[in-house]
């Protein structure tokens, strides 16, 4: 698996550290309540198919990326800088 870093281009998987589902970008308010925080921290859609997850390009440009890929085939569809993907 190679990941297409928007800054560095296609790079080896070993340059990246995986964080998890891109839900980590949608941090709830501190007073959002137990259910919202449980959703954010623990519960996952965990899709068998297309997913969005966060990767850190530690051995490259040190950017955080949101990578779109397929968990069934390991096909990588695309990647954006997390700073731009965040809505």
């Amino acid at each position: 698996m190679r990941l297409p870093c928007p800054i560095c281009g296609d790079r080896d998987l070993r340059e990246f550290t995986y964080k998890g589902a891109a839900v980590a970008l949608d941090r709830p308010n501190p007073d959002a309540g137990e259910t919202a925080w449980d959703d954010y921290l623990h519960l996952r859609d965990n899709p068998a198919g297309e997913t969005r997850d966060l990767w850190y390009h530690g051995a490259g440009c040190t950017a955080w990326l949101v990578v779109e890929r397929n968990t069934l085939t390991h096909e990588v569809i695309g990647a954006k800088l997390a700073s731009e993907a965040k809505t």
């Binding site: 698996m1 080896d12 998987l13 070993r14 995986y18 964080k19 998890g20 589902a21 137990e34 259910t35 449980d38 959703d39 921290l41 623990h42 519960l43 996952r44 859609d45 965990n46 899709p47 068998a48 997913t51 997850d53 968990t71 069934l72 085939t73 390991h74």
Partner: protein, 417 residues
Amino acid sequence: MGYSAWQILKNGLTGNKGWKPVWRDPDPKPEYDIVIIGGGGHGLSTAYYLAKEHGLKNIAVVEKGYIGGGNVGRNTTIVRANYFLPGNSEFYSHSLKLWEGLEQDFNYNAMMSQRGILNLFHSDGQRDAFARRGNAMINQGDDAELLDPAGVRKLVPYLNFDNPRFPIYGGLLHKRGGSARHDAVAWGYARGADQRGVDLLQNCEVTGIDIENGKVTGVQTTRGAIKAKKVGIVVAGRSGQVAAMAGMRLPIESHILQAFVSEGLKPCIDNVISFGMGHFYISQSDKGGLVFGGDLDFYASYAQRGNLPMQEHVMEAAMTLMPMIGKAKVLRSWGGIMDMTPDGSPIIDKTDTEGLYIDCGWCYGGFKAVPASGFAFAHLIAQDRPHETAAGFRLDRFRTGRGLMDEEGTGAQHNLH
């Protein structure tokens, strides 16, 4: 049918045409008291203990593939009770006791081999941690023995003791640990459940879970609708998808774990050896293949195959620990789907839907738990209260923060286990 030497000789001489299937292949009935979704090790043992320990008859196991075709047929077959935390410790202790009596219990040769598990350590700090773990195991009533380098050398002289980065300071030996024949475990439980009247429905994929007024009423499958008073979900690797049919989201990410088998070799590794610093462990199967593996690939995946960097890492760890392995050829490798929970411990609990139960989140340690997980899940389904050994495996522990079981001490967060 008996598996005597005479039967083997007779069938060997007559083209092996005399063997009969050891369980039925029934059509689904329209209704059961209990439907277990998932015919893997845990699902089969659940059905077996529901019938055997609780005297229940009207049970079906629905399996989308074939019996023994999932993770129970694709793992590294290690059995042990060397857990540290209360909650885990008594559960795995119970599981090992069930393993020790399993072959007599279901009258099937599971090739249970208590060849001993050796966990190596490489620093003074690690020795202290292992001594503490060993004491916890002894307090639980299990066995543990702290070996010095000479003791390890006597047991496994072929390791590289003087590696500059990871010199071997000793090991924690758990003599009652070992391995079992994974397929035979599935077959033994399947036959035992079938003999007690459980219908094993293969090629029967669940496509929906029927819920009315907050109560489960049955399942939709590719072989038709099946009504049920109680439904148990035990589908490691696909827990998220099946739970979604009941409107649930789980604290699980599916990850990939690779394992490897070498060509068949003469007996050379007598024990199970784990080299934690290299995330590496190895044993030798009775067929002669070296069975070994490493850590997760560390990204969510259902592909059932891993990537090359982790394969390279595992081979490097193997060479670091035992340079003699360099001459062996890798025969095959595979990747299994692991239900990873945030704290690395499993879930056996009721759900918010009445009559719906779930057993999931076994991370990369499901095989050794097969007997006790089935035993505890059967108890929960039959009696509507958790078995004492599995009372800590609560589904809500992440939401409440109470009763987290983080065996590695790294934090109860996805991607840390």
